[in-house]
Amino acid sequence: MNGVHDMGGMQGFGPVVAEANEPVFHERWEARALALTLAVGAWGRWTLYASRYARERIPAADYLRMSYYEKWFAGLATLLVESRLVTGDELANGRAAPGTAKSTPPLRADRVAAALANGGPTERAVADAPRFMVGMTVRARTMNPLGHTRLPRYVRGRLGTISRHHGAHVFPDSNAHGLGEQPQHLYQVRFEARELWGETGSGAIYIDLWEPYLEPG
């Protein structure tokens, strides 16, 4: 979706302000919100892409106003209800519905280190040969899907050059919506800054794009 999360190339947000000696978390609730998101994710009820899409669906004005971990918390609440792990009433009341059987958490403390160390690799074997080769000119498609996509607006319709083939990876546009992994070839594409921004551009931008986002240039 053409959401406000797709920020590349926007202007007017002001200078980048870095905090010296910034702590990992500014408040304890931020740490708990991060940990809750990771721990509930272990249920496997939604994918990484679905969790990003949940945050992208935060209304635009709220998205810009909220802090980072407020967005994570809002996304988690959305996912919990949509996946039926929690009902809307339970979320509002803060209590389990009467008679609810207690579950067993899938992620126990003694398994955390291994789970984080394993992560979730996204490369997959596919039968189809890649359509594009390193050095080929490609054009990022002009498309405006309402669902989740990782094709930023600022490269759509622009010409770039394939700089690397990453193999095939899980496709976010399907996997965010319960439509399976549908792995697709993934390429690193170099766009000249002038192609994207005109005469004032300098240097280059490299973006990782899946094959369905690209057409021959």
Binding site: E27, R32, F73, R111, G119, P152, Q188, L196, S202, A204
Partner: protein, 211 residues
């Protein structure tokens, strides 16, 4: 940048009433524990990992090793995931790593314009500015302006390459080794390497920055 309050610092009750977010997150955690959806000890273990165990010191070890060991540097640039795993780092948000090398003619800068993708196993969790609208919006259209705000001015003949982390590939900048550090061992070199230099918004200084 938002103000910081310090309720519940080290778990204790402060003078001020707890914030709205403190209450809301606590309520959700209570509900999820009551339903058996999460184990509170697992939450503690996750937080402990990212607060104390995984951070930019990991990436600094990788950079220092690459500076001292040409064979390791070659492996890092060829297959960063495997080379980083040699030092014992890997996993969530670092499953597929690529290292990009700064040279006198090329400067690399990493961003995630769509969200906040960042190489957790080598840099830990991202700082607030990396996740902020000003950085996400301008890193791709005005990298020189962004670098200037970090106090970094590059000569005009240096090509800036911006890496937008749109997929599950995570990028680590291999900064230039500063002059005058030839005699330093790996530990001393690692002390010089900052988080910002591995994102690409700073160079590495030949003397240790005050921490």
């Amino acid at each position: 940048m938002s103000g910081h309050d310090h309720h519940h610092h080290h778990g204790g009750e402060g003078q001020d009433p707890p914030s709205d977010m403190t209450l809301r997150v606590k309520a959700l955690e209570s509900l999820l524990v009551e339903k058996g959806i999460v184990d509170p000890a697992a939450l503690d273990a996750i937080i402990d990992t990212y607060e104390y165990k995984i951070g930019p010191r990991n990436g600094a070890r990788v950079v220092a090793r690459a500076w001292r060991d040409p064979a390791y540097k070659a492996r890092l640039l060829e297959d960063a995931t495997a080379a980083i795993a040699e030092l014992g780092y890997g996993g969530r948000q670092g499953e597929h790593m690529i290292a990009v090398e700064n040279t006198p003619k090329v400067h690399n800068l990493v961003v995630c314009t769509l969200c906040s993708c960042y190489p957790w196993p080598v840099l830990g969790l991202p700082p607030v500015w990396y996740k902020s609208a000003p950085y996400r919006s301008r890193a791709v259209i005005d990298p020189k302006g962004v670098l200037a705000e970090f106090g970094l001015a590059l000569p005009d003949d240096v090509e800036i390459r911006v890496w937008d982390s749109t997929a599950e590939i995570r990028y680590l900048v291999l900064p230039e080794r500063p002059p005058g550090t030839e005699a330093l061992n790996e530990d001393a070199l690692a002390e010089l390497v900052t988080r910002d230099s591995m994102i690409g918004v700073a160079r590495v200084s030949p003397t240790r920055a005050p921490s």
